[in-house]
């Protein structure tokens, strides 16, 4: 049981347990002692499903990373490859198997494809002449991985790129499959709303898949009342803006992968009395970040400016708690104090960690560069001077600031202006290519294709209308005690979350005009529930699925909505990937192969 998954209204442990069960079954099919050879990319997501302890229970004695050449020695009967269905990986496996065969080690080989088997890969193995050596070839369908009590992700890095650049809808198919799995475990979802082309595709696929199972009725009481499918390209602006929640900033600056963040170690050294200058650790400090940590759960979704107050209050509480030892007089009281000690020590170390992290972040948020960047972002979001070349961007290019920073700003200007004028676009393009190199011409082309950086057409700029109607910019934002989701960007309310908010009350019919301005169709579908199971009026749960990526700030905003009113809608968030502006733009960049000079 993973502690952090049981906090929400929906017990995502059920999903996790189902995944673990499948894994156990596969391991048992390969009887005897085993060694697992891992595709490195999978170790992260798998870590969220099963720890080594589970594997050990099923006779997994050794674990290796997949590398070309020959396998390290291991005294096991079975070798199992846990890999993605990629051709280059097949070649490495073939190499491994052949070298093993040469050594005449008489071992059994198996492959577990994650998430699906692939004919192309098996064909490749056959061409290499090793297909026959494998006894069990199976697939482990890992679509939606639970990251937290209310968060699921497919961790599909290329989903946005595939859907919007390459017109490849494979990831949408996987999303639909993942949703079918969810429905099998948590009941049919009676209402489906969606906005966007990809949303429409996913909904169609779901309905078609449901028809294939016509006959068998799902008798589980539905946990989810509504499914909301949203295309990322309905709201291109939100991921471009710098997130200002605590978790959002950690992701922006250091990156959070699979629930872990790697931080510079200097501030995490424990100062022990009497010890001189110890050697500074060079390894970055790896911290796990999820809601199992009480303090983190409290501050993660707050605006960063409100975090300091919480930390200082907590510090006072913890000091007071430790001071209690002076008050403990009787043996009984001392015993009670001692029993609470571990919890208090954990709280103190947690506080120390987060105070260090907050200090690191504060160094950056108080810097001039951060302030200037944020100012320009907010100017664009409020529609100031979006049709001219921006001098701050010009200066940054001249100083050769990181390219992704430039691209985020330029794309933001384009989105907020519904496209840039020819002169402005050409100027930016020219400056960027001349300063960073002509090889980025393809990246710029990709950004244009994705709609992030485009030429202004004769159509009117709709953004101001959308902004006013949906109240995307709130001047009177209160960062300490927010009353609106706009606190996550200190003034800007994420468009996607606003749409979700309006769907519940007063409904999308009231914003028909605005919806038409946003790309893609919007729709509503209903799925038949077996008789006897009825919809709830209160305490509704909505599963909101972002097709193309979701940011931590949007997650924070949705959590804010969940706890805003008693008996209101609670949100469970799913996505193809957890993104931030940097990783998102990076996925759209095309890399050049290094020349062999």
């Amino acid at each position: 049981m993973a502690a952090h998954l049981s906090y929400g209204r929906v017990n995502l442990n059920v999903l996790r347990e189902a995944a673990r069960k499948e894994l156990r079954e596969f391991l048992d099919r390969c009887a005897g002692s085993k060694a697992i050879v891992w595709d490195e990319y999978l170790t992260g997501p798998f870590g969220l499903i099963a720890q080594y302890s589970l594997l050990k229970e099923h006779e997994v004695e050794k674990m290796f990373t997949l590398k070309p050449g020959s396998l390290p020695p291991a005294d096991v009967k079975n070798i199992i490859f846990f890999v993605r269905p990629k051709l280059e990986i097949m070649d490495i496996i073939a190499g491994n198997v052949k070298s093993e065969v040469k050594q005449r080690s008489h071992r059994d080989f198996h492959i577990l494809f994650v998430p699906r088997r692939s004919l192309l890969c098996e064909q490749r193995l056959e061409e290499q002449g090793v297909l026959g050596s494998f006894i069990n070839i199976d697939q482990y369908i890992l679509d939606l991985i639970p990251y937290d009590g209310d968060l699921l992700s497919m961790e599909s890095e290329s989903a946005f790129r595939e859907c919007y650049l390459e017109n490849d809808q494979t990831s949408l198919y996987h999303a639909a499959k993942g949703l079918m799995t969810l429905q099998a475990l948590y009941g049919t979802i009676p209402q489906i709303y969606g906005k966007g082309e990809c949303a429409r595709h996913v909904a169609n696929m779901m309905l078609r898949m449901k028809r294939e199972f016509a006959g068998s009725q799902n008798q589980i009481l539905p946990v989810f009342d509504t499914l909301l499918l949203l295309d990322r390209n309905v709201d291109l602006l939100t991921p471009l803006a710098t997130q200002l929640t605590y978790e959002g900033l950690i992701d922006e600056i250091y990156g959070i992968t699979n629930g872990y963040a790697k931080l510079p170690p200097e501030k995490f050294i424990q100062k022990k009395q009497g010890e001189g200058g110890k050697d500074l650790p060079t390894e970055p400090k790896k911290l796990q970040l999820n809601s199992a940590e009480e303090l983190y759960a409290e501050i993660r979704d707050k605006n960063f400016n409100a975090v300091g107050a919480v930390l200082s209050k907590k510090a006072k509480i913890i000091s007071a708690a430790f001071e209690e030892r002076h008050n403990a007089k009787t043996v009984g009281e001392i015993k009670q104090f001692v029993s609470q000690l571990p919890h208090m020590q954990a709280a103190r170390s947690s506080l120390a960690n987060h105070t260090s992290i907050a200090e690191l972040i504060k160094d950056i948020t108080t810097s001039e560069a951060f302030f200037d960047n944020l100012t320009v972002e907010q100017e664009f979001m409020t529609g100031v001077d979006t049709d001219k070349v921006n001098t701050y961007i010009e200066d940054c290019i001249a100083q050769k600031d990181p390219l992704i920073k430039i691209l985020r700003l330029v794309c933001m200007q384009s989105v907020c202006n519904n496209g840039l004028k020819q002169k402005v676009l050409d100027y930016y393009k020219r400056e960027i290519l001349q300063t960073y190199g002509y090889e980025h011409i393809l990246t710029l082309n990709n950004l244009e294709k994705a709609g992030l950086l485009k030429l202004q057409t004769n159509a009117r700029n709709n953004y101001p209308t959308i902004r006013k109607t949906l109240k995307l910019w709130m001047d009177d934002v209160n960062e300490q005690n927010p009353n609106d989701i706009s606190y996550v960007y200190s003034g800007y309310a994420p468009l996607s979350v606003r749409l979700a908010q309006i769907l519940v009350r007063p409904g999308w019919r009231s914003i028909e005009e605005v919806l038409k301005m946003l790309p893609g169709p919007h729709f509503e579908e209903r799925q038949q529930l077996p008789s006897g199971l009825h919809k709830k009026r209160e305490n509704r749960t909505t599963l909101i699925f972002f097709l193309g990526g979701v940011t931590y700030a949007e997650i924070a905003a949705l959590r804010f909505l969940s706890q805003m009113e008693e008996g209101g809608t609670e949100y469970i968030i799913a996505s193809t990937k957890l993104i931030n502006g940097t990783s998102w733009i990076k996925s759209l960049m095309d890399k050049l192969e290094a020349p062999p000079f």
């Binding site: 280059e88 001249a398 090889e439 000079f597």
Partner: protein, 418 residues
């Protein structure tokens, strides 16, 4: 050397590699156009001999720099001659193609990927070509190859879903091989044939790009942008950028060979100038080749002119470079202009406050910084800069001018006069 039309036939017939002819089969009249294009390129190709040996990328089968590609092609071509002669006119039979072009890496002595591995790969441009091809239907076959050296290869492998198409794919690949042999490693325009095919299968085009990435076996290649295919339908602006890139690479190669010895010794460079962006190239030029006349290829002036860089860009870059070298006189002369009265004055298209920042970053001495702070027009800005960089004289002067006694006191405290 321009060849007459009559020479073309001689060339075709006298070439060692006779295995493939375009003429005889009516079915392949569509190839005539490409043949024309191919032949017109032939004339330009003869410039080969004039060019420097250094410019040729020498790579071997496994990517290590060994002999020239053309040499390698000849070797393998002769090996494949056997199978080639057995073929009928037109597209060769499937069986042969399978042998030659088996996608497995094992035992493929003529796998196209190994042929081009180690070449300077510019996949992005090729991908870009892909994108363009999908969108624009008409082909322009007007090769304006500027300096087509030997190794330009751009070819596609198309993956479609029917078996017939798969065979056609093999056929086309063999066709490419033949073209390669014929031109001795020179420009392949047989690729244009593929473009035609791709035209009609735009959906497949997308899937194929995907498949290509998957396969990795046969990559999209383009060697040393010098050898671009201007016949490809680029959008107007992007074509300009691509053109600039070629010019830049050519220029960089030239610059690589020149240079003043003393400057290089004092400030050894960290990397070659090849493949660096244009602004970096300008910086390099201002650093190592400052003061050269505009006539030389490596002078900053010539670079500015050729690539039409703005005054602003030039100034910022030159300033940075000269400041780094602590050449304050040069920095000074960047700003001196004669106004219409004949007096010299200092002007800058960027604000002087930016100049001060750049100078400070390069550890300029206080006197120099002071000089430029004085040139800032805006008094508040001037004061701020002066305080930031601790130029007390200026603070005192400006403050007393405006009767700001407080500032003077603050400043005085700092330098402890009072």
């Amino acid at each position: 050397m321009i060849r007459g039309k009559g020479d073309e036939e001689d060339y075709w017939n006298s070439s060692k590699f006779k295995a493939f002819t375009f003429d005889d089969d009516d079915e392949f009249s569509q190839l005539k156009e490409s043949k024309k294009a191919v032949n017109s390129i032939q004339t330009l190709v003869d410039d080969d001999d004039d060019d420097d040996e250094d410019d040729v990328e020498k790579v071997g089968w496994n990517g290590e720099p060994v002999g020239s590609i053309s040499l390698s092609i000849k070797e393998t071509a002769s090996r494949n001659r056997m199978s080639a002669t057995d073929q009928e006119l037109g597209f060769p039979k499937i069986e042969t193609t399978m042998q030659n072009l088996s996608l497995s890496k094992q035992g493929s002595n003529y796998s196209l990927s190994s042929l081009f591995k180690g070449d300077y790969i510019h996949i992005y441009l090729c991908q870009y070509y892909c994108e363009c091809v999908g969108e624009i239907p008409s082909r322009h076959f007007a090769p304006e190859l500027r300096k087509p050296k030997s190794h330009f290869f751009l070819f596609f492998v198309m993956q479609t879903y029917t078996l017939e198409d798969f065979r056609a794919l093999r056929d086309k690949m063999l066709l490419l091989d033949e073209a390669v042999q014929l031109h001795n490693g020179n420009v392949i325009t047989a690729v244009k044939i593929l473009f035609r095919e791709l035209e009609s299968r735009q959906v497949a085009l997308r899937h194929f790009i995907h498949y290509l990435k998957e396969m990795e076996e046969l990559k999209l290649l383009n060697e040393l942008l010098k050898y671009a295919v201007f016949s490809l339908p680029f959008s107007a602006e992007d074509a300009g950028f691509v053109q600039d890139h070629y010019t830049l690479l050519e220029r960089q190669i030239i610059i690589e060979k020149t240079g003043q010895v003393e400057v290089f010794k004092k400030n050894p460079r960290k990397a070659a100038i090849l493949d660096m962006p244009i602004i970096t190239t300008l910086y390099y030029s201002c650093f190592y080749h400052y003061g050269e006349s505009e006539g030389t290829y490596s002078s900053p002036g010539s670079i500015k002119k050729t690539f039409k860089l703005s005054d602003k860009q030039y100034l910022l870059t030159a300033l940075g470079a000269r400041a780094k070298l602590k050449a304050w006189k040069d920095v000074d002369s960047l700003f001196v202009t004669k106004n219409w009265l004949g007096y010299t004055q200092k002007k800058a298209p960027i604000g002087f406050h930016k100049v001060v920042d750049i100078l400070h970053k390069n550890n300029a001495p206080d006197t120099v910084i002071q000089e430029y702070i004085c040139l800032v027009d805006d008094t508040d800005l001037k004061l701020n800069l002066a305080m930031k960089y601790k130029c007390h004289d200026i603070i005192i002067n400006v403050s007393t001018d405006f009767g700001c006694f407080m500032c003077v006191c603050e400043c005085a405290e700092v330098i402890k006069i009072i």
